[in-house]
């Protein structure tokens, strides 16, 4: 079935590539993006290489085949839909950063991750939802107001600032296929650069000049830090652990998406119900995104991820696949408590997760959140952008990196 699926997908890739011809600037980037979602054969070989590295890993297809063959027709490419606004996001951010400092080194570090290589998921969602809601409210499509484009851009800035601080906290070596910032520059300067990006982002938020938007986006920072604090502790009992994990996931990942979409909806002039819808859509997509991320940490190769595989275990973090696996293999509990510190823990846990239903259950939970997001998106007036919001959930669920 996987084979059949991939043939069908390849045909779709061709179709999409044809559409891609029109977008001169973004063609390269978007074909890469399409590949990451649909090029199954590539990933399977990648999984094999992962298997040789870590004994006990299973083929990704075991997870994939759990999905019913209901992959939607990718007639709508969400990235394509908002390409006009999205293609300049990184460039605009670099320009803003440059404008705010005369110190070359500070600028160099701060702009390091704005190189056009990231997935740009957050700004893409912001732009898509803005268009969809504007259409929903005004019954016609029009160019996005500056404020909404700004919020999309700021979402990527705040995300990257948090990545930069994460890199220092986790002492990571690689991100997005290149050396992490903390490898190239010293910790103090990297920390300051993260603060710098945040400060510039705050300035830009203030300039949107909407009290409620500022309040909404301020909440994101608190959530990010609290999520990071939660990640430090693992003393919870078994029952509390999953709630703890989900709350942490909301704060570290979903809150940013949910609140930025909420801000976009407020700028669109949405009423309370529609604002809540935007928030919940973002929350569900965000949770699904992180669940899949945690899943990929077990199944994808480091080359596909742009960072080392099984990275979470090595950091001592018990994510959803491990927590699910716990039900079948209680011996994982002790390892979770000692944060996989003892020799062999990481490999053993990795193996047990693959032997259990942990990956399938994680996938199932992610799917549940995607279905909920779709249900919410269906309540928005029909438009290409609204379709885009539906398709995004599939991309999130089926992504390979």
């Amino acid at each position: 079935m996987a084979c059949l699926g991939s043939v069908r997908l390849c045909a779709r890739v061709e179709k999409l590539c044809q559409i891609g011809q029109n977008a001169q600037v973004r063609r390269k980037a978007s074909s890469v993006k399409l590949k990451q979602f649909v090029d199954l054969p590539l990933t399977r070989s990648a999984v094999k290489s992962c298997q040789t590295a870590v004994p006990g890993s299973r083929l990704l297809s075991s997870v994939r085949s759990q999905q019913p063959g209901s992959l939607p027709e990718y007639r709508v490419d969400p990235y394509q839909l908002v390409d006009d606004d999205l293609k300049n996001v990184h460039f605009d951010i670099q320009e803003e950063l440059r404008r705010h400092t005369s110190h070359d080194e500070l600028y160099t570090i701060a702009q390091y991750y704005f190189d056009g290589q990231g997935k740009c998921l957050r700004p893409m969602l912001c732009l898509l939802l803005s268009h969809a809601l504007n259409f929903h409210i005004h019954k016609k499509d029009k160019p996005l107001p500056e404020a909404q484009r700004r919020v999309a851009m700021i979402s990527e800035m705040v995300h990257s600032a948090s990545l930069i601080h994460d890199d220092v906290i986790d002492c990571s070596d690689f991100r997005r296929g290149k050396p992490s910032v903390n490898v190239l520059w010293n910790h103090k300067k990297v920390a300051m650069s993260g603060d710098f990006i945040l400060a510039v982002a705050s300035i830009l938020i203030a300039r949107i000049n909407n009290d409620d938007v500022t309040i909404c986006l301020g909440q994101v920072l608190t959530d990010l830090v609290q999520g990071e604090f939660m990640q430090l502790g693992s003393k919870e009992t078994e029952n509390e652990r999953f709630t703890h994990y989900l709350t942490k996931t909301y704060r570290k990942t979903a809150s940013l998406i949910a609140n930025y979409l909420k801000a976009e909806s407020m700028l669109a002039g949405a009423d309370e119900g529609l604002t809540e819808l935007a928030f919940q859509y973002g929350r569900n997509v965000g949770l699904a995104f992180q669940l899949v991320d945690d899943l990929l940490d077990f199944v994808a190769s480091s080359s596909a991820l742009g960072k080392p595989a099984a990275a979470d275990l090595k950091l001592g973090l018990a994510t959803a696949p491990v927590l699910f696996a716990c039900e079948k293999y209680p011996e994982l509990n002790a390892m979770i408590m000692r944060r996989f510190q003892e020799p062999g823990d990481v490999e053993h846990a990795f193996e047990l997760v693959h032997k259990s239903q942990g990956l399938e259950q994680t996938q199932f939970l992610a799917r549940k959140h995607c279905v909920e997001a779709q249900r919410l998106a269906e309540r928005i007036a029909e438009s290409p952008y609204q379709k885009g919001l539906l398709v995004v959930t599939d991309l999130v669920l089926n992504r390979m990196k």
Binding site: H103, V168, I169, A191, N209, F229
Partner: protein, 404 residues
């Protein structure tokens, strides 16, 4: 739950006290007053000696409860309790975060942490116009929003100090695995604690529902981050002076001091006047006041190791970009050779020798003049204010600073 948090914190304080008892905090030396002559500006001052402690504690009475962010509200918040517990694990290691934390707990009143107080005093001294009565803390004579701004000022300052206290870990720096682990963990906690404070700033500022202030204070955070990129640095990011043949020491000192504090206090003072409904023009005077006060303060701190009465232990490190050193470099550039010994690590510098050379030169006198200039400019701004108890307290603080 609550009691465990508190006891964790108390335990940490206990541990820190034990470590503090042996070393006399540097600030104690700063409290030393010599009862020297007072200028004309002291006419509003009380009759007693312009004692620093007294000036500050009386000023606090004027604007209500102390502004230090270590109020009970903060102690009981989840994250701070979390930090406290983690800090306890670090006691015994050498991570600089401990020193920063100690400074916050014990030197609170006597160093830069009095900034929130300055902001509140200026708020009260200037009064407010056309503001809803509901928003006023009547007893203290300041607005709730101004109190929040004062707190934000301290949080920004503290978060910067904490982030500055990270250790640059590079391969081969720590031979022992345990030490490396301590340092890595310390960095993690320092980074998160600083981020926690910053995120709280954003929330508090957002709650003011005043985008002009949010932008102003965000730009103050940006200025602080820039300060860490000025000039040459050693491997731990400690600043080194620029070659005296290539730049102007006073300009260098002013740039560094403005970025690393002057603009923050200036912008807070400007912001608090805006919150009170004062004109942009008048608020700019507030900026001037804050900036010059911060620079005077910095000059004052810079002088300390070189004072004849100094409690500074000979040979112990001081900032190589402090005003007396920079002034001396301008006077005699041969000192630069000694300083370059610290290009990789400022601790490789012969501090005793530099201290003795600088003490004999004109650097100290010139720094004193620099401090007076900035004090004077701050005083000039105050002169435009109506006479009241807050204004008197501010001038008392400035005078007391001159007598340290």
């Amino acid at each position: 739950m609550l009691s465990s948090k508190v006891s964790g914190f108390v335990a940490m304080r206990g541990a820190l006290v034990a470590r503090t008892l042996t070393a006399r905090p540097a600030c104690q030396a700063l409290l030393h007053t010599d009862g020297g002559q007072r200028g004309a500006v002291t006419q509003h001052a009380h009759n007693t000696k312009p004692d620093w402690n007294k000036a500050v504690s009386e000023a606090e009475k004027i604007v209500g409860y102390p502004t230090s962010f270590l109020s009970l509200r903060w102690l009981l918040s989840d994250e701070i309790a979390n930090v406290a517990l983690h800090l306890r694990k670090l006691v015994g290691s050498n991570h600089p975060l401990l020193k920063t934390a100690k400074g916050l707990l014990y030197n609170g009143k006597n160093n830069m942490q009095a900034w929130g107080l300055i902001v509140l005093l200026l708020s009260k001294a200037a009064g407010h116009l056309n503001v809803n009565e509901m928003e006023e803390d009547k007893a203290a004579g300041v607005l709730y929003s101004q109190r929040a701004l004062a707190e934000v000022t301290e949080m920004i300052r503290t978060s910067h100090l904490v982030h500055k206290g990270l250790v640059n870990i590079h391969p081969g720096l720590f031979q022992e695995g345990a030490v490396l682990n301590d340092m890595t963990f310390g960095n993690k906690i320092a980074l998160l604690s600083g981020d926690y404070l910053l995120s709280n700033c954003c929330v508090e500022l957002a709650a003011l529902r005043n985008q002009e202030i949010t932008e102003l204070m965000s730009s103050a955070v940006r200025d602080l981050t820039e300060s860490e990129f000025v000039g040459q640095r050693d491997q731990q990011n400690n600043p080194l002076p620029t070659n005296p043949l290539e730049g102007s020491p006073v300009e260098e000192w002013t740039l560094r001091s403005e970025l690393s504090g002057g603009r923050l206090l200036g912008k807070s003072c400007e912001g608090t006047l805006r919150l009170a409904g004062h004109s942009k023009e008048f608020s700019k005077e507030g900026y001037k006041f804050g900036k010059h006060l911060a620079l005077a303060w910095q000059a004052c701190l810079d002088m300390e190791p070189f004072m004849p009465s100094s409690q500074h232990t000979s040979g112990v490190g001081f900032s190589l970009v402090s005003a007396p050193v920079l002034f001396h470099l301008e006077y005699d550039s041969s000192l630069y050779k000694l300083i370059q010994a610290g290009a990789e690590n400022v601790n490789d510098v012969d501090y005793a020798e530099i201290q003795s050379i600088v003490s004999k030169g004109p650097g100290l006198a010139m720094t004193k003049r620099l401090r007076q200039e900035h004090s004077q400019k701050a005083m000039e701004v105050l002169a435009a204010f109506e006479q009241n108890d807050a204004r008197t307290a501010l001038s008392n603080i400035i005078v007391a600073m001159g007598e340290l």
